[in-house]
């Protein structure tokens, strides 16, 4: 296990160094991801400025959700880049065969193959928004709330990482990377920026029971912020909900292992 982590870190460092060879392009791309997520924040700000509060949710509450989810999402994108480009650069080219013969876990080799450092722009933007939320909201940070927040953030990370793994796994069959799962990853991020209670019931149910987005984001955050929940969760369910993120990760990882066993090279 320790050897695996050391290998992971080492591969990551190599990927970072190779990215840094193109410094200007890199800085531009950082600016790009910063701007793209800034655009979303401007939209949210404009709506709150026009309409006042969204029920009991003020702009600072939504900023808390927005900042947290953007930080996690950017971190996943940075560290799961290898899975993101898996279909186009490893499967279609037949390069995955070479990965399989190496004496290390394919999951680690794929994960640490590339780093999407340009997502630092989105990360930074999320941090700025979260700082605004922290300053504006007067959250009573008890030990329990801190623990719940950390638990939720880690399970959110597992959740979004798992989607990247599923995306990559599907390319065992489709050879290409499927953009359609962007609706769940990027779309999920967009969805979770607002309280889940504003959406249609069928939509909320899908993002609770099929894809447990609400369990890793909305429910625990309601608990941390101590907000009333029209969906009827209690502090107990809010505290247990993030477990779903880990279960989801485990299911997705076994799907990956299943896919890898079925893998037939493209033969090129």
């Amino acid at each position: 296990m320790i050897a695996a982590i050391r290998l992971f870190g080492r591969l990551m460092m190599i990927a970072i160094r190779s990215q840094m060879q193109y410094r200007n392009a890199f800085l531009l791309m950082v600016l790009g991801t910063f701007l793209t997520s800034m655009v979303q924040a401007i939209g949210i700000w404009a709506l709150f400025d026009r309409f006042g509060n969204l029920g009991v949710w003020s702009v600072a509450h939504v900023a808390f959700l927005y900042g947290t989810i953007n930080i996690v999402f950017a971190t996943v994108d940075i560290t799961a880049r290898g899975f993101d480009t898996f279909g186009s650069s490893l499967i279609r080219t037949g390069q995955f065969d070479r990965v399989l013969v190496r004496p290390a876990s394919p999951v680690i080799l794929v994960a640490a193959r590339e780093v999407a450092l340009h997502k630092l722009g989105q990360l930074l933007q999320g941090i700025l928004v979260l700082i605004y939320a922290f300053v504006t909201l007067d959250i009573d940070w008890t030990i329990g709330r801190i623990a719940l927040y950390v638990f939720a953030v880690s399970s959110m990370y597992a959740f979004f990482y798992a989607i990247q793994i599923v995306r990559a796994t599907m390319s065992f069959w489709t050879i290409e990377t499927l953009e359609i799962l962007n609706t769940i990853s990027h779309g999920g991020m967009e969805t979770a920026q607002y309280p889940m209670s504003i959406y249609k019931e069928s939509f909320t149910n899908f993002f609770t029971y099929v894809v447990p987005l609400a369990c890793v984001a909305y429910f625990p955050m309601v608990g941390v912020l101590n907000m009333p929940d029209p969906l009827g969760s209690t502090l107990l369910t809010q505290s247990l909900a993030p477990l779903a993120g880990y279960v989801f990760f485990a299911v997705c990882l076994s799907f990956w292992i299943f896919g890898m066993k079925r893998y037939q090279s493209t033969g090129s």
């Binding site: 701007l35 404009a46 709506l47 400025d49 006042g52 953009e179 779309g187 959406y199």
Partner: protein, 279 residues
């Protein structure tokens, strides 16, 4: 002279047709794009619907106008000039631009034709399933209040068509400026990145422009990007009354003329001082 004009026209249509055929090959990607746009449209409507439900003062637009604005935006998102034709980018980095200058065609209009194909071909391909979903399927699955309404009247529809034609020209005129910038920058990635932040906000794609704070309205009203979404979409829903529609379309058209003249002038200057890349 007439023979020259027909020759020019024919070569432009040939470029446009070739581009269409090329892009139509990527049907699976287009289908995935459609699904994503529909999903996004639904999220936007739910978010805006929640704000409308919680509104304490009367919003400046009706919700029906919002629904039309959101769906037209989702269906026509490919028209937004936030990127540029990668084939033209390639010309600048490889030095192939020298061949472009040799063609017996006016460079600006030749690139305009290419840009027109680059912008409209994928959009046309994607808009059909999107419109079918927004007009027919949504009422069928019990969400008629989310369905794309018909234009406010026949006349509104005709004015929308007119305004939309100018929108396409406006989008091409902006896109081609990004291309022309490569005469100086060689690489337009930086400018594209910047446009990626600016265009969605100022066109109204992120949030309908009338919903922005009142103090921003005087500025928002006169900037060119408004002609990309806000003007045609609000003419469609009748949020811009017919009495104002002519004026608004004229506003779009003035920006098209300004931007085309600007681009034309830039190309003329660039030809004099061009350094061709490559070896």
């Amino acid at each position: 002279m007439p023979s020259l004009t027909t020759a020019l026209l024919r070569s432009y249509t040939a470029v446009v047709a070739a581009r269409f055929r090329l892009l139509l090959q990527y049907r699976a990607a287009a289908l995935a794009g459609v699904a994503t746009q529909i999903f996004w449209g639904c999220i936007k409507l739910m978010v805006l619907g929640a704000f409308y439900a919680a509104a304490v003062t009367t919003p400046p637009m009706t919700f029906t106008a919002i629904v039309a604005y959101v769906w037209l935006g989702q269906v026509l998102i490919g028209l937004l000039p936030w990127n540029h034709d990668p084939e033209l980018q390639e010309l600048f980095t490889s030095g192939g631009v020298a061949y472009e200058l040799l063609r017996p065609l006016d460079l600006y209009w030749f690139w305009f034709a290419r840009t027109l194909a680059f912008r409209t071909a994928p959009t046309l391909l994607r808009m059909v399933p999107g419109i079918i979903f927004a007009t027919l399927i949504l009422p069928l699955i019990g969400l008629p209040e989310w369905a794309l309404p018909a234009p406010a009247s026949m006349t509104h529809g005709l004015m929308f068509a007119l305004s939309f034609t100018v929108t396409v020209m406006l989008s091409c005129a902006i896109t081609i400026l990004i291309t022309i910038s490569m005469f100086w920058l060689i690489e337009a990635r930086g400018l594209s990145t910047f446009m990626y932040g600016v265009v969605p906000v100022f066109s109204g794609m992120i949030v309908p422009l009338p919903l922005f704070p009142d103090w921003m309205q005087p500025f928002l009203q006169y900037q060119p990007f408004r002609g990309l979404c806000d003007v045609p979409f609000r003419i469609y829903s009748g949020d811009i009354p017919l009495s104002m529609a002519g004026q608004e379309i004229a506003f779009q058209f003035v920006w098209v003329v300004i931007l085309i003249l600007f681009g034309y002038g830039l190309i003329a200057r660039a030809r004099v001082r061009l350094v061709v890349q490559g070896g």
